[in-house]
């Protein structure tokens, strides 16, 4: 691979001039610019970004740490991040922590080592990872999930309100024994959606809350629904706190031929791809997913520009989309 010195020699100028040309300095003689560009083309020169990053002591990479790359919610969010990143000249390194705090810590360490320009994280709950981030000078934005015990730029949806609305919707439809399947303790979305459910139940429900905690995966939702069905007094409706678990729950009901919405009402949080094409179509609490990502990215851009600014906190709203699965 040719270096900047090879180009300089070929063009008969100094390395500094080549650097200037390549970085768009306006203070270069047009004749030299032409010579340099010719040399670059002839040698097939490609600047070494590693060297540049070291010299400038900054990179143009963002680490985006999400907890499940297989979840369309996260990929949609990443698209929002990417679009902003690209426009601002950054590249996105996507890190999939797989809901594993240890993997999350590893990725955080790598992001710092690699001198990433910023980190956008949807925490899988590791306090250690959060501490490492806040203890470093790297700009951080929490998205979708709060960063545990940390005050950083944050963009989330109003999980509590969304969950409350979903639960009230089921109660209003005439369901009485409404249960909740939610995610792991310590993950803010799991906890807040559970809280929204509990509030709705406390204030107006004819039955006690029934709660099952599991992971945020499809299999988790399946298992949770199975255990609810085998309980002495099964619920007649379930609010499920994320998309993949909702699909798992639906699959469980389909296999056991439990009529939805007849014998069991179902509402899920998060949009589900082709929720309208599954049978029955799924009532969901939809988030502005792409917007979530875009907003987070913008906060990161701002944070990089003004590191000392007061951390922002943006709450977007979630919206109920009633479909068949909850209409008694």
């Amino acid at each position: 691979m040719p270096t900047i010195y090879d180009v300089a020699r070929e063009a008969g100028v100094s390395a500094a001039t080549v650097s200037r040309v390549l970085n768009g300095a306006t203070t270069v003689d047009p004749a030299m610019v032409a010579r340099v560009l010719t040399a670059v083309r002839e040698l097939g020169y490609r600047p070494n970004a590693v060297a540049r990053n070291l010299r400038r002591s900054r990179t143009t990479l963002w680490a985006v740490i999400i907890s499940d790359i297989g979840n369309p919610f996260f990929t949609a969010m990443v698209r929002g991040i990417e679009d902003v990143a690209q426009r601002e000249g950054y590249s996105v390194v996507l890190c999939n922590s797989d809901e594993d705090p240890v993997k999350e810590e590893t990725y955080v360490a790598a992001a710092l080592s690699e001198q990433m320009a910023g980190v956008i994280i949807s925490s899988s709950g590791s306090v250690k990872a959060a501490k490492t981030l806040t203890g470093s000078p790297v700009p951080v934005v929490a998205v979708d999930r709060e960063l545990p015990r940390a005050v950083v730029d944050t963009v989330v949806v109003d999980n509590e309100a969304g969950a409350r609305t979903a639960t009230e919707h089921l109660l209003a439809a005439g369901y009485r024994r409404v249960a909740c399947i939610t995610g792991p303790e310590g993950v803010s979305t799991a906890d807040l959606r559970l809280r929204g459910y509990t509030e709705a139940m406390r204030s107006s429900a004819p039955a006690e809350p029934v709660i099952v905690r599991t992971d945020f995966r499809e299999q988790g939702g399946y298992d949770a629904m199975a255990s609810l069905l085998s309980s002495p007094e099964p619920p007649d409706a379930v609010f499920v706190a994320n998309n993949l678990m909702t699909v798992g729950a639906l699959r469980c009901l389909a296999e056991r031929e439990v009529a939805v919405p007849g014998r069991m009402g179902l509402v899920g949080f998060d949009e589900i791809p082709w929720a309208d094409l599954v049978h029955p179509s799924l009532t969901t609490v939809t988030q502005p997913t792409y917007e979530l990502g875009r907003t987070a990215a913008r906060l990161l851009v701002d944070r990089i520009a003004t590191p000392a600014a007061k951390p922002a906190r943006i709450v977007l709203s979630a919206e109920l989309h009633p479909r068949r699965s909850s209409s008694r």
Copy 2:
């Protein structure tokens, strides 16, 4: 941020010794190892990977260039890649070209500039990007889609056979006017799946092939199906060459209340998440998606180890999963 010299001073040793300790050299006095590790902890030292990469003139990053991060097929494949990468000590930089050759070229250029250790690419068809890659010393593996006009390590499924099987399946079920919706010209999966369809039609079909080309997106499938439906003699079945387009086609049929499989049979290539839960359940040609990624990653590991080896070509097989949408 403390540097290796700060640690050296704190521990009363040289920077070289710190480096040795941190890189696991066995030729260091245990007493010094202890002093160094203490100093590292006290200062919260974190090695600067950019400097290390420059010095070693290599990185531990892989660029994985895919054409649609919103397509669950690709994310499943990426998981396979990631799992191998992580085990081998690499991190994955996911690049989403969005089926845009220009974006693809940009990412390829970035991967080379950043001195990535390797590239795994599912080409969106850019010959220029392919040329740039093969003209550089970076190890490259093509996955899912061939790299145009290039001989590199490749892992694909048998697209032609899969498409032929799918088409024959529709014909055997009694459909007669079978059409095909496929992707952009120049993308190997689009072209090969089309060829498989055409072969099946030529050899045994009672009607002429009908072909619609569009992009590989959901909307493309929707539009293609709409145009087929409005033609003078609409088909009675369609083979759709990828998952998202299949969903789009199904949505179009659902909106227009065309009975599937009664008035229209449907088979899609690629697995579709919860294909069994949509209505009607979708017949698909399923690929070993995760395996595809894992295999590609292994090829890359081998290629990095022995750059001069003869390029490998691995063809996995795709399998028909008959469900409701094709059963007349």
